[in-house]
């Protein structure tokens, strides 16, 4: 069936502590660039790639 889901949609499960750890490393004025922070957060919430 062409319309069938290729995989199910699962809501992310992320422990709040993991997210806090990203921002707790330093005061705001000594944090890594926002781009790095974004990639770290995206890594927590994105599904991991699967081999095609």
């Amino acid at each position: 069936d062409a319309e069938m889901e290729d995989y199910d949609i699962h809501q992310a499960v992320v422990a709040p502590q993991h997210l806090a750890d990203i921002f707790n490393t330093a005061p705001a004025f000594a944090m890594p660039p926002i781009e790095d922070l974004f990639y770290q957060v995206a890594g927590l919430f994105s599904a991991k790639p699967t081999k095609a």
């Binding site: 992320v14 806090a20 005061p27 705001a28 004025f29 995206a42």
Partner: protein, 451 residues
């Protein structure tokens, strides 16, 4: 009574960021002005935009300005200058000139009493520094509602931990919206600085994450209702941030929060689509890569597969989009976005005879980032596309001819991807004889060789 008044005035006059109360109490406005003017002049050297305040907050007459004697309108006008000045000082609060300059506003205009919220918000990204503690110590006993969570820290004079700010942002919509509006305003007026954006992003990200956890309920209807309420609260701020011109940092920060919202919020296709459209509306080359990662994650939670026309158009403008998505797919799942793009391009081909997207479709197909099932569906669609292109959009058959030779070249692709493509073409429920006739080309031999 007059002794009481004098005492109260003296106590008010002794509130200072720099001087001990006893010293401060004995200073005249002329003395304070002279001391603080240094700081202001240094700030003007650092950033010419400060000079704008020379005729208002720093005029000679300012030394005589008593807010309690000024009209409501005069006070309102003064508030505007004060707020703008504080926004501009924000990035420099670890420098003495900025503290000296703010000292003047505290002593002369009593901004800690008249502009409490904006003053605290300006210092909030520096909540770990000693000057923030000093600020807490001079605040009035009655604080704006959203800042009452500071009372225990003021009373005990202990440092304000980040966790307490996150908790307040989670529980008080007023606080989070105040912080968001302050940050957006700084960006709109080009007074933002990296620490402010990181601070806002971090607090908002954690607060949104916690609100989503709090809103979880065994009953689906209640959870959806909670998530919708959160979306209404934070959605407009994110929409503004995602299209903020010339502030790539804020856009990236908003991608971060949208990512969390989409991953846990069960937003539904319409909201996701609107975020995706907004994202590409505001992005520029310096936010393409982060934006693509965000789009990849949003796509994972969308049930509709085909991308919107706006997102499709925007992705076509990204150089080497297929290669870029393959690169992203090493760390984040990109197949769904890639698939959505390919489906949209094939749809454009079928409906409008637009073949400009074919090279991208091919790159996506051979890039090995699509799942086998996705390749199969896509090839099936490609094979029926020639039947859907009609004489109206392709009067001389040129498009169908090009499509034919393109399909032949696709069927000859090498590697694993080539195998999947050939298998998909073979499995497709399409009349090859009719197709060849229609395209004036031969696809069969290529397939036969593989058999």
């Amino acid at each position: 009574r007059s002794t009481l008044n004098t005492k109260a005035l003296k106590a008010a006059h002794s509130k200072s960021l720099i001087f001990e109360p006893r010293v401060a109490a004995g200073q005249t406005f002329a003395e304070i002005y002279t001391l603080c003017r240094d700081g202001f002049e240094e700030l003007c050297h650092l950033d010419p935009r400060f000079a704008y305040f020379n005729n208002s907050l720093w005029s000679d007459q300012s030394q005589e300005q008593d807010r309690t004697q000024m009209t409501k309108d005069e006070n309102a006008a003064l508030d505007k200058h004060i707020e703008a000045f504080l926004h501009l000082c924000g990035s420099r609060l670890r420098l003495m000139p900025a503290i000296k300059a703010i000292e003047w506003l505290i002593r002369r205009f009593r901004i800690h009493e008249f502009n409490t919220a904006v003053l605290i918000t300006t210092f909030l990204p520096y909540h770990t520094t000693p000057v923030f503690m000093t600020l807490l110590s001079i605040l009035p006993s009655e604080l704006p509602v959203e800042y009452r969570f500071l009372y225990p820290y003021i009373k005990s004079l202990t440092a304000l931990p980040r966790a307490a700010i996150v908790t307040q942002a989670t529980n008080s919509p007023n606080f989070l919206s105040g912080l968001s509006q302050y940050t957006l305003e700084s960006c709109r007026t080009k007074q933002e600085y990296p620490a402010l954006i990181s601070f806002w992003a971090g607090i908002t990200a954690e607060a949104v994450n916690r609100m989503l956890d709090k809103g979880r309920s065994g009953r689906r209807a209640i959870q959806t209702q909670n998530n919708l309420a959160l979306l209404q609260e934070i959605g407009p701020v994110l929409s503004d941030a995602m299209v903020m011109k010339d502030v790539p940092g804020l856009r990236i920060a908003s991608y971060m929060i949208v990512t969390i919202l989409a991953s846990k919020g069960n937003l539904g296709d319409e909201a996701l689509r609107s975020f995706m459209d907004q994202l590409v509306l505001g992005w520029t080359p310096d936010t393409h890569k982060t934006g693509l990662v965000c789009l990849c994650i949003l796509s994972q939670f969308r049930s509709a597969k085909q991308l919107s026309a706006r997102v499709t158009k925007a992705l076509l403008k990204v150089p080497e989009i297929a290669a870029t998505l393959s690169e992203i797919n090493k760390d984040y799942r990109a197949d769904r976005l890639a698939n959505g793009l390919a489906l949209a391009l094939v749809d454009r081909l079928s409906k409008k005879g637009d073949i400009r997207g074919l090279p991208v479709v091919k790159s996506l197909l051979v890039s090995e980032l699509l799942q086998k099932k996705q390749v199969k569906v896509l090839c099936g669609m490609l094979l029926v596309a020639p039947f859907r292109v009609n004489d109206e959009v392709d009067p001389d058959g040129q498009i169908r001819k090009e499509l034919g030779s393109w399909l032949v070249s696709l069927s000859q692709a090498g590697g694993n991807a080539g195998d999947s493509i050939r298998a998909a073409i073979k499995d497709a429920d399409v009349d090859i004889d009719e197709l060849e006739l229609k395209l004036g080309t031969s696809i069969r031999p290529t397939l036969a060789i593989e058999d």
